[in-house]
């Protein structure tokens, strides 16, 4: 096999199973409950497609839409949302530069999920309903529940 074929040929890519999605969602709802917060949580795959979502009692309907967009942005950019925001500010960029109207900018509540072995993007987690820090803590609890 030529070097070219090895670099650009057919390859295997890991994806999240629904069992893993449910573990992360349940862990995030439990974390938010412990903080007596009503939040919305979402998980998307590496393409940004919705894998799982939950809206807690009392959380606004808009919060779930926002959580999905946070997850989408994290997965597509391949970065935690806070770091994406810092980079934009540092370079005086605006989110519209990316040409994707579904992207959102937020201080927290969005994390990218990567495989341990080769850092392949598996997806993104989005949380909305609390402060930036609270959203971020819940999103990180979701990623931690996956052992990633």
């Amino acid at each position: 096999m030529s070097r070219f074929a090895r670099r650009f040929g057919l390859y295997e890519r890991p994806v999240l199973d629904v069992e893993e999605t449910m573990i992360a969602l349940d862990a995030m709802v439990a974390t938010a409950s412990m903080q007596s917060r009503s939040m919305s949580v979402a998980i998307v795959d590496a393409w940004g497609g919705l894998l799982g979502a939950m809206r807690m009692d009392g959380a606004s309907t808009q919060s779930l839409q926002y959580a999905i967009k946070k997850a989408y942005t994290s997965a597509r950019i391949g970065s935690n949302l806070g770091e994406f925001r810092d980079r934009l500010i540092e370079r005086s960029g605006i989110v519209n530069d990316f040409g994707d109207p579904s992207f959102v900018v937020a201080r927290g509540g969005g994390v990218v999920v990567r495989a341990v072995s080769d850092r392949t993007v598996l997806g993104g987690i989005g949380v909305s309903g609390g402060s930036g820090d609270e959203d971020q803590a819940v999103a990180e609890a979701g990623r931690a529940a996956l052992g990633l």
Binding site: M22, W47, G49, G52, M54, R55, D57, L64
Partner: protein, 140 residues
């Protein structure tokens, strides 16, 4: 003032888990499952790895939405369209779908609409069977 009953995450989670179990216990393609409230807004969602990327998610959402907003299972909605010689286009919205696999959630005591469950990824009949198991897990 007036108040309306709302489906909680506890019920949505129970139905989602039961529908996922039903999908695992019946051999077939991976599915997406959506649970919406009485206004058709998403409450809980799960998509199995390998589900049709173009159709499964979108149609699970549309089936749940249609069941909740048209206040009937989508299989009955299909039948109602047929018997009244109407088409889905007559309703003026692209959010509805005429395809079995969506079931309405109503409160037994007064028939109040609480939400809907939508399943997509397999044949319409298989999707509906999974959605019905989701509903059967709830005592409303």
């Amino acid at each position: 003032m007036h108040s309306i009953p709302m489906l909680g995450l506890a019920e949505a989670r129970t139905a989602l888990g039961a529908a996922l179990d039903a999908a695992r216990n019946r051999p077939g393609r991976p599915v997406a499952i959506a649970i919406v409230d009485g206004h058709g807004d998403l409450l809980a969602f799960a998509c199995m790895a390998g589900a049709n990327p173009a159709l499964a998610r979108q149609n699970a959402l549309k089936k749940a939405y249609t069941a909740a907003c048209m206040r009937t299972d989508t299989a009955d909605f299909v039948e109602r369209l047929r018997s009244t010689s109407r088409t889905i286009v007559d309703f003026g919205t692209s959010d509805l779908i005429a395809d079995p696999g969506g079931v309405v959630l109503t409160r037994a005591s007064d028939g109040a609409i609480l939400g809907g469950i939508g399943v997509s990824g397999r044949s319409s009949e298989e999707d509906e069977a999974i959605a019905l198991e989701g509903r059967a897990s709830l005592k409303l």
